[in-house]
């Protein structure tokens, strides 16, 4: 089914895709992104959240190809073409891991626990990977 056919049926639900796993050892991050891109191409209001080890997906200077893994992290830079503009990272998760706010994508919003949670609560449907 093409996006064009679907347009008439869209609702105003908001979707949150929550990432909790590090990028390479499991398929979770890649499969979460695949889902996010589809929601985006069907014009569903979609936000991405990174918490726990999920924050390892957004930090800079990673090199997946060095360990023969397809670098799906590069696809994050294309999110704007899928109208996914809300990308939230949990400050506490960064702090716990001694990480700086140095990301491989722009327009990431780092939020303290409560604000992060408030944003998450505003979504109608939440998928966690």
């Amino acid at each position: 089914m093409s996006a064009a056919i679907y347009e008439e049926k869209q609702t105003d639900k908001t979707i949150a895709i929550v990432n909790t796993q590090a990028p390479f050892s499991s398929a979770d991050g890649k499969e979460a992104l695949d889902a996010a891109l589809i929601f985006g191409s069907y014009e569903q209001a979609t936000s991405l959240f990174f918490i726990g080890d999920g924050v390892f997906q957004v930090i800079g200077e990673q090199n997946a190809s060095a360990i023969e893994i397809k670098d799906y992290l590069k696809t994050f830079s294309a999110l704007e073409f899928y109208d996914i503009e809300n990308i939230y990272v949990c400050q506490q998760s960064l702090t716990e891991r001694n990480l700086m706010a140095n990301f491989h994508i722009d327009n990431v919003q780092v939020l303290a626990n409560e604000a992060f949670s408030q944003r998450l609560h505003q979504h109608n449907v939440i998928y966690r990977f």
Binding site: A3, L37, G40, S41, Y72, K74
Partner: protein, 110 residues
């Protein structure tokens, strides 16, 4: 499956997509299109080059909506409609332009 280019054999998958996207060049694109009996016009080339550049930058082929949105930024409104793209690539621009651009077949559900 394979295609022959310059006395060399290039491997493709069952649907004719190049297995190794690094072996692509514009002559290979012409051969890939020939297997579908399509002659590439300048309008086709614009999209093929654009899709390949998108893949090299983002490590993924764009879904149709993302393709139109990205093309709008590059070529303006007139070429940024799915109707324009479907007229050029009747089997679906995401699938067909990707093929001639030497890129892997997009996942079936995308």
């Amino acid at each position: 499956m394979t295609i022959n280019y310059n006395n060399e054999t290039l491997a493709t998958d069952k649907q004719g997509y190049l297995l190794d996207f690094t072996l692509w060049n514009e002559d290979v694109a012409v051969l890939l299109a020939q297997t579908d009996e399509i002659e590439l016009s300048e309008a086709h080339w614009e999209v093929i080059r654009f899709v390949r550049e998108f893949y090299l930058t983002y490590n993924t082929s764009p879904a149709i909506r993302a393709l139109t949105k990205a093309m709008k930024a590059e070529f303006g409104e007139e070429k940024a409609s799915s109707r324009y793209l479907y007229r050029l690539f009747k089997e679906g621009p995401a699938k067909q332009a990707t093929k001639y651009a030497g890129l892997p077949k997009p996942a079936r559900c995308i």
